[in-house]
Amino acid sequence: MTNLPLWIIPLFPLLGTILLGTVAVVSSGSKKGPSEGFVGALSVLFPALSFVSVVLLAFGMPEEGIRQTLCNWIDIPMLKVNIGFLFDGLSRVMLLFVTGIGSLIALYSIGYMHGDRGFTRFFAYINLFLFSMIVLVLSDSLLLTFLGWEGVGLCSYLLIGFWNHDLNNCKAANKAFIVNRVGDIGFLLGMLCLATLGGSAILNYDALNKFIEMLIAGGHVELATPIIAIAGLLFFVGCTGKSAQIPLLTWLPDAMAGPTPVSALIHAATMVTSGVYLLARLSRMFSVIPEVLMIVLIVGMLTAFWAAVAGLFQNDIKKVLAYSTISQLGYMFMAAGASAYDASIFHVFTHAFFKAALFLGAGAVIHALAGEQDMRRMGGLIKKTPVTACVMIFAFLAIIGFPGFAGFWSKDLILERLYTNAPFGEFFYGVGLLTAVITAVYMGRLIIMTFFGEYRGPKEKEAHIHEAPACMLFPMVILAVGAVFAGYLWADSLGIKFFEGTLAPVVGVAQDFVVGKLAVAHVNPMAFACFGTAAALLGMFIAYAIYGTKRLPRLHAKWGSAPEGFKADWTFFFDYIHSIFIVMFKAAAFVADVFVDKVLQAIQWTIGAIAEIVGDGVSSFQARKVRVQLTLSLVGLVALTAVVLLTGGLF
């Protein structure tokens, strides 16, 4: 089983992309379009095949992982990079849920996108996204990771702007791409920074790890630290862009303009977690620069807390989920900052299940309400769509960390590690716990406003509310099951440590390197579990107290109807900070265009006019009338005569 080549994993989605893209282009001329069943089957088949090969490979994987070099990519004197793949514990975990959830969501999309004009195009993009994501996760060098990194950004752009006849969607897509680009440039410069340290060969992960080991063994860490710290910071900028952390978080709420399966797949489960993946992948490098880790920790904490607060104020069901995603990503970054990479990847894993389930549930709700996304117009849906409601409620329990559900185990682990590993651990633990309370509040608000109480939407729509078709429900149910049970892979309190074991070869060294230096405080794990449970229960209670009893909030007349365009209801001032930069750039462009360019043109035309006058001589002054000219010559004659007479000759 293990002799399956690694490149077969990305090959399937790539084939799917090419095939579906061809079908999309060829069929674009015809009115009817290709058969949806055929296209849907193709688009689920390829990710599923990929998933199967990942599973096959995963079971036969040796401890140290599989490394395969496919071919030479760039061969320039300063830059020699191969296309190579690395399949180890980390990529195994990531690939399993990327391809698995990818297949499920592709299945879901067949129902969701039914009847859309761009049906084929959508699945081509989804396959392209899966290809990029697989390359991102599977590559063995930073440069190839970067290919996937920009590739997923591109697919995210394409899918956010999928309904491109509405310019608001396009704007959201542009915003996502450009903000991501800022992060990507950080990634790129980080690679350059590393390359100056050890040449382009160091871009390979194994070589990088060896290089760090060599530094530590030779005692040269202090010498290299400044450059590595800069590189680490730049990589972290890349991660903040892709994972929507402060200060580059504004694009993710806007990205909800895309179709809901896209939000579930890209903006919740897979792409946004690639920042966490990168941190874990580079854990060895980050282990020698604790200052940068501290920054990661602080940024993660701020993001988690603030996004949770912002989630409280949203009325768009998808925006709530978007902010909750940002908040959960903040948790993951906190864990990574505390050198608990395995915990953060574990949270990525569990989060993928319950957040995908939540998004798919939200999608089913939106589908049922024919496009309505405003929670103020929902309510009481548990009677109409019981399956969706159950899925959502399970996922809700998972995300708030209700004991026994997936989120409980991973979040609990992160909080515990924060307390034990991080400097000022008590503080971070406290903030994390507070965030958990807020999480429970806004998620509770979402569930209550959507599923309980009475239906608040227009009456004529009520009759049309219906449960989603089976092909949408099936993935949701599977994900809900995952949301319940995924946590048992590493139920620390129960002593199950399967997950830790699979990640240990990748991140273990780095963690031990950092944690080994700390005096680990020993606290009973049950205490953390109790506190976590208490936070979840407290949050649920607050949510019930505020939103459950008083049937709040009522739909204010002045609030208008749906959330307008791509703007979130209440965002942080980051949008304003970004707009300051944008305005500065626009002002500079304005000055360049209107002032500098005009001045340059004026100079150019002045010189041109002078040249023309010099070139054409007096004919530039020619008058149109013959008589005037003759008279001028007469006057010239007079002047000449006068000169001759008065001076007695010119010479």
Binding site: C170, L188, D593
Partner: protein, 575 residues
């Protein structure tokens, strides 16, 4: 032979095109396509066959110059790829023009072939005067084509273009004339040697004159005034050639003529690099505000070329392959974008991007092609643009983090304006009533698609491009010299490692053979160190010097009796 064909045959083709029918574009386009395919095939053969040179044919004497001007062509990786760009873009231009131009396709084809010949000459000339000749000759067919087939302000655009570029290179002509009068002949290395003996003030004056010409052609920041209006008013196929191939002549000049000839001080290098970066940022800003689609593309092309120039003047080890990949990638992607913009203009009858829009819905194939090419121009990894820009950034990082940071900023800005462009042109609801029946033909679509696929291929395997540069090895140089100078080839191979006493002899002989003894070992060594300082790799230096020696040897052979005797003596001594 290949070189002669590539430079002279386009002119012959232009003449032959004159024999076809003026009224019937079908028949004349068939012949034009045939020629176009032939030239593309020839240029691919040129790349595949590596470095080569023709016989140096004496052409004419410049009054006051010591040596004569040669008709002497040689190709190295850079020039060969530029030739491929010029031929392939011309071919696609001929294809797209058939539907875009309704009148007088024949004359358009004549102009395109003349332009192609001049461009090929520019990229292949080994003699500075020959280079200058073609460099100027490019302007004339381009200006005529603009004046004949352009938009509303075509006359103004053509005049601006012609005057700007001709005036820009006028100082270079004077400087070149001066250099030729002090040098032994007008080949690169003798010019370089001649320059070494001048005083520094004169050197920097000459350098400024040369730089000006290339800066105008590229164009670099304060000299970009001609570009926007020219690219906007020229017919779209011609704009594609102008930006894809002709503007490369400027960057090519920096690499192939400035760097080998002039000993650059750090101030010049720094200034040029920052000027390049400034151009990149400035171009991006103007592109962000541009309302005219073709002007936007013109500014975007200015931004990319600014980055390329900055890369050239980073003078790092990998500068040459990096810039080459960037140039090829930009040539293909910007060319394809201009073609597509021309097609959009044909659909809508306007270039104003506010009035376009909704083309993705209206014409899905065009929309996907447009988006695809736009993404390719964004330097997304996996495309040739990424390899080029990444390696250029890498070169810039050698000069310090700040230039690289600015270049990174340019990448962000390029994303900003390109996405805005894509959004305004193909997304949204159709802003105006498009005429039915004006569709993109399969020929146009497939040719642009091929360009896109090529970009992907080069992005996944850039060695296709960069391998052409690695033919600078010893064998190739030997081969080249054997081809060009069969009788002197063995001699010169021994003079490369000539002992010191021979050097003395050679310097002593210099008085006797003042006319025909252009290079001494001393000069060569000095030059070698100079080249090294300018960032040329060992192989390139070796090849250049061997070329030069071949040249001087041939002169010796052609010279009068006593010089020949001296040369033979020298040869026998060496043996």
């Amino acid at each position: 032979m290949l070189l002669h064909l590539l430079v002279l045959a386009p002119f012959v083709a232009a003449v032959l095109m004159a024999a076809t029918s003026k009224e019937d574009p079908k028949s004349s386009s068939r012949l034009a396509f045939l020629f176009g395919y032939a030239f593309v095939a020839l240029s691919i053969a040129l790349i595949a066959s590596g470095n080569q040179a023709t016989e140096a044919i004496e052409w004419f004497h410049i009054p006051g110059a010591k040596g004569s001007v040669y008709y002497y062509l040689y190709s190295h990786g850079l020039g060969a790829w530029m030739v491929l760009l010029s031929t392939s873009l011309s071919l696609v231009a001929l294809m797209t023009a058939r539907n875009t131009l309704d009148t007088n396709y024949r004359n358009f084809a004549i102009g395109i072939f003349a332009l192609m010949g001049a461009m090929n000459g520019t990229f292949l000339a080994a003699d500075a005067v020959l280079f200058f000749f073609f460099f100027e000759a490019m302007v004339i067919p381009a200006a005529i084509l603009i004046a004949a087939y352009g938009g509303k302000e075509r006359t103004k655009a053509a005049m601006t273009f012609a005057i700007y570029t001709l005036v820009g290179s006028a100082p270079m002509m004077v400087a070149l004339w001066y250099l030729v009068t002090v040098a032994d002949n007008s080949l690169v290395l003798s010019l370089a040697v001649a320059l070494q003996n001048l005083d520094p003030a004169m050197q920097s004056t000459l350098l400024a004159c040369f730089l000006l010409a290339f800066m105008v052609k590229t164009p670099i920041f304060p000299f970009h005034g001609w570009q926007a209006i020219t690219y906007a008013e020229a017919p779209a196929p011609l704009s594609a050639i102008l930006t894809g191939a002709m503007s490369k002549a400027g960057v090519f000049g920096f690499i192939a003529w400035i760097l080998p000839i002039f000993p650059l001080s750090m101030e010049w290098v720094d200034a040029m690099m920052w000027l390049g970066l400034l151009t990149a940022v400035y171009g991006a800003m103007l592109a962000f505000r541009a309302m005219d689609g073709k002007k936007l593309l013109a500014y975007s092309s200015m931004g990319h070329l600014g980055l390329a120039v900055a890369g050239v003047f980073s003078l790092s080890e990998s500068m040459l392959p990096a810039v080459l990949v960037l140039l090829v990638a930009h040539g293909l992607s910007a060319g394809a974008q201009f073609y597509l913009m021309g097609i959009a203009e044909r659909f809508a009858g306007t270039r104003d991007i506010e009035q376009l829009g909704g083309l993705a819905k209206r014409n899905p194939v065009f929309g996907s092609l447009f988006g695809f090419v736009a993404v390719l121009s964004l330097a997304v990894p996996g495309t040739a643009g990424f390899v080029g820009e990444f390696t250029v950034l890498m070169s810039l990082w050698d000069m310090g983090p700040l230039p690289a940071l600015v270049a990174g900023l340019c990448l962000i800005l390029s994303a900003a304006y390109m996405l805005r462009f894509v959004q305004k042109v193909i997304f949204g609801t159709p802003a105006r009533q498009y005429e039915d029946g004006k569709r993109m033909t399969a020929l146009e679509g497939s040719s642009i698609g091929v360009m896109g696929v090529l970009l992907l291929v080069f992005g996944m395997h850039p060695a296709f491009i960069t391998n052409a540069l690695q033919l600078f090895d010893e064998n190739a140089v030997q081969e080249m010299n054997k081809v060009s100078h069969p009788e002197t080839a063995p001699v010169e191979s021994s003079t490369v490692e000539a002992p010191a006493d021979v050097v003395d002899d050679a310097t002593a002989d210099e008085n006797v053979a003042a006319v025909a003894q252009p290079m001494t070992e001393e000069d060569l060594r000095q030059l070698d160190s100079n080249l090294k300082a300018n960032g040329f790799s060992d192989e390139e230096r070796a090849s250049l010097i061997a070329q030069l020696k071949a040249m001087s040897e041939s002169e010796v052979a052609e010279a009068p009796e006593q010089n020949e005797a001296t040369a033979n003596e020298e040869a026998s001594e060496n043996e």
